[in-house]
Amino acid sequence: MDFSTFLQQLINGASLGSMYALIAIGYTMVYGVLRLINFAHGDIMMVGAFLTLMGVTAGLPFPLAVLLGIIGTVIVGILTDKIAYKPLREAPKISLLITAIGISFFLENLFNVIFGGIPKAFPAPDYLTKVLHLGEIYLPVTVIIIPVVTVLILGGVLWVLYRTKYGMAIRALAFDIPTVKLMGVDADRIITIVFALGSALAAIGGVFYAISYPSIDPLMGVIVGLKAFAAAVLGGIGSVTGAVIGGFILGFTEIFVVALFPELGGYKDAFAFFFLILVLLFRPTGIMGEDLERSRF
């Protein structure tokens, strides 16, 4: 592999890793506050892609369609919590988990009924799909934009978590819900913020995915969601920084294994789960995790 190919694959890996990272943050934050693996989270990403497509099809300018797509996804994310998870706050965690799987099936089938199961073309605007020639490197604009936007978003999330009052409440909630209530804080409102934030990031990830692989279908969130979940576990579930690290490791691995060993291309989806098994066997707390009982964000 020569240097320019290496550079090209590096950027591709960063782009793919960004998508996993954006979705993994939602998994890890919801786990942090509710101790719930929200298996519907991958489908929330699908909802983001479809709602954006609806806007584009209706003739809205692309940025506006994305914005409305994100807002719609945030509403869907908050509703899943209010309708499905909130009544189970005091219930055993396994009930929550089963409910999350139910919500996942519900969303997949709802969108199947509305939009049909046939993959739909996602018409990204030309200024995003244009290919740049930088010396010997050929790169679509999106592949450069995605990691840049992701890093900015991550900075924003960390700023919210560590520099705002509500972020502090999220960190406190991850440790002790009843005591947060004793501070006069409406814990459910903070949980709503977590779902809103996670859903917004998933929607952005969904749009990135739709631009990179220009067709979408109601089951697109299943494999991507599971891989993002693997990324969250790899990084240390409950840790936002860990989710990002895990996402990028997964992205780079997938791209480079296929680039170096093209004959393994058919197995690329397996690497995430291979990592997941290794982590669960040898370091269940992941890269950033130290203490299973405590969440660190």
């Binding site: 406190a172 991850a174 005591t179 209530k181 004793l182 409406d186 405590r294």
Partner: protein, 230 residues
Amino acid sequence: MLEIKNLEVYYGVIAAVRGIDMQIDPHTIVTLIGSNGAGKTSTLNAIVNIVKKRGTVLFEGREISKHPTHRIIQEGISLVPEGRRVFINLTVDENLRMGAFNNDANFERLRNEMYELFPRLSGKKQQLAGTLSGGEQQMLAIARALMSEPKVLMLDEPSLGLAPKIVGEVFEIITELKKRITILLVEQNAFAALKIADKGYVLENGSIALEGPASELLGNDEVRKKYLGG
């Protein structure tokens, strides 16, 4: 200030509190003493609606029995929970900030007051609360509860697991606070509690066995035998 009528707490079919009445007057220290499992913590948790309950809680004459926990706190009751429960993953400063979540305007002033009231904390503002000693965590828990400027402060076993010297310091501060606010103190350390309290209730198996001025309870033979070690 705070009035409790026929309060009952059940965990499934097991009764923890069986219909108690309490009356807490403004600017007094009222203590609720009793042995382990008598229902003291359940009583406090029921007042702020952390556990399900039956009965009536009146705060300044208004019924608050059905209000969610965060609203009861906003209305002016603070609880320092059993085992301190400081946010160990947050710094000392951030713990105080959490206490003042709905009191942004007065945060700076109150924080400075707290560091004066608890000088032990003032050198450790940026330290994670999990790294503090037990006594310091107890002081932080009290300071955090005061950050919302409550009218009633409820403390659940503040002496638990602390060295006698630190217990003395904590109780001195509680006495000092009486000038400003009303205090409901739950304690196993009955002697220390009755010494600083104005009024006491003795809880046995979820019912009030005895009540009266703290000085009388201190002299009561039954109380001496059961709770003060003869």
